[in-house]
Amino acid sequence: MPDDVVLETLDLCKTYGRKAAVQELSLLVRRGEIYGFLGLNGAGKTTTIRMILGLTRPTSGGVTILGRRHGARDGTVRRRIGALTEAGFYGNLTVRENLEIVRRLTGVPQKERTDETLALVGMASESGKVARALSTGMRQRLRLARALIHEPELLVLDEPANGLDPTGIREVRMLIRSLAEEKGVTVFMSSHILAEVQQVATRIGILHHGQLLEEIDREELQLRSRSYLEVEVSDTARSASLLEQQLGIHGFDVADGNLLRIFQDLDRAAEVNASLVRAGVSVSRLVVRHESLEDHFIKLTGGEASGQNVAG
């Protein structure tokens, strides 16, 4: 395992009875990456995270974290991981006391680290509040604080945006980004909200029915997320030559059937149309389209995503 690989799963499988929750999942997360683990509800994201964190034993396959074969079952590895799961708090204790417990158990000697972490997640003014009185959003911030207090190298976040308001989501997104960019923290985060993952992840893995369908990096994602002019023509060969030679447009491709996808000079749609018609090519449709990750995701999952909250 190369030094820059922080997390690796190899043929990870988990079955409950006859139901396969996760199937032969192999992925690799490098140092400093923000890996967005995207999938519908029930896709197997939480099961995977539980296996990564050592909370659930894989049926087969393995997890290697920070070079250790036993992953989070190894105590020295757990010291270097920060985890946000759906786990609760001690309701009778204040926010500060809840965090104090984690500070002590993670072996952080500096008492001031508790206040620093509360400030980091925007909870400084809530420190004296009893945990059971917190709103859903504040609970999620406290979960994040618990994950961050010991300054881990790897953050494993299960649906970090859950319960947060738009401002909270933005703050968490900025925090995740700054941790990765400024402190080199590696982040593995699951989400069913496409927009959220799209904005923060440097790489995305799409999980569906327990299988990793695809991994996309940021550059590819940007390419996939661009707008283009879709033109349905009677003759694609003639149209292509006309675009290049007469209009100087080179950024296009020929899609299925009689479709051309033009990726540059979208504001010249009228000119393109007129030129094609003048050249005797009939144009039956001309429309500006935007293929987002959402479209791609829906395509990949065979349309199942359209019924769930994946658009964000």
Partner: protein
């Protein structure tokens, strides 16, 4: 281990548990003091055996299993009702350490509670003007009995703790504690032959005031077996972090 223990102590803040235990343990001494005062007023010749010994027996017979059992159940069930256990399991702390820390907290709370209960008995006894002077050696003997029987009761709790961890609620373990108490009261009051085989009766049999059956080596072996089996079950349960959640 020290940091795990400190973390466990923080968890006790603002819980009603300590107050419930202290108030609870004061009830048998209060009841006993009323009985003693009544009998003294009728001219009965009573000694400290009744004022202190009977109080210790009443606590052991009717309250100890329920009270110390509830402390044990709370320490473990609260992790599940608050759903905090899962996060505890992803922290760099040994699961065994967490168990040991919780058991130590149970023993510490038990000792403090027993000491307070004995203190209340002693204080109420000293307030009775017709009781003779209390020799220090006798006071120490009762104090030792109160403490050892309380600690013995708590050390019999791992099986109940295991049930708590398995069912993750309060209802089943509380029902179990009620059942254990009822059987204990029945066996001890009727001085049944089987009392020596019932581990949860051992503390009552050891109470100085009790004049019935004396525990045999078999009683001790059975009590030790119940404790060991409970501890093993707890350990196995905590390490079997799979199939729908961390223990």
């Amino acid at each position: 281990m020290a940091r795990t223990l400190r973390a466990e102590l923080i968890k006790l803040r603002r819980t009603p548990l300590v107050w419930v235990a202290l108030v609870g343990i004061s009830l048998p001494p209060l009841l006993n003091a009323l009985l003693v005062a009544d009998r003294l007023s009728k001219g009965d010749n009573l000694g400290w055996e009744t004022a202190l010994g009977q109080s210790v027996l009443l606590s052991n017979l009717f309250l100890a299993i329920g009270l110390y059992g509830m402390v044990a159940v709370y320490l473990f069930a609260s992790e599940h009702t608050d759903r905090a256990w899962e996060h505890l399991m992803v922290l760099p702390v040994g699961r065994g350490y967490v168990l040991v820390a919780k058991l130590l907290i149970l023993l510490i709370l038990t000792a403090v509670t027993a000491a307070v209960g004995f203190g209340v008995s002693l204080l109420l006894g000293l307030l009775q003007p017709r009781l003779p002077q209390l020799p220090a050696a006798e006071a120490w003997r009762y104090a030792r009995t109160a403490l050892t029987t309380a600690l013995l009761t708590s050390s019999l709790m791992p099986v109940v703790i295991w049930i708590t961890m398995a069912v993750r609620n309060y209802i089943v373990p509380i029902g179990t504690l009620i059942g254990l108490t009822v059987v204990n009261v029945f066996l001890v009051i009727f001085n049944a032959d089987e009392v020596i085989y019932y581990p949860w009766s051992l503390p009552s049999l050891l109470a100085v005031y009790y004049k019935g059956t004396t525990p045999t080596p078999v009683s001790w072996v059975l009590a030790a077996a119940v404790t060991v089996i409970g501890l093993v079950l707890m350990r196995v349960h905590v390490y079997r972090a799979d199939q729908g959640g961390a223990a």
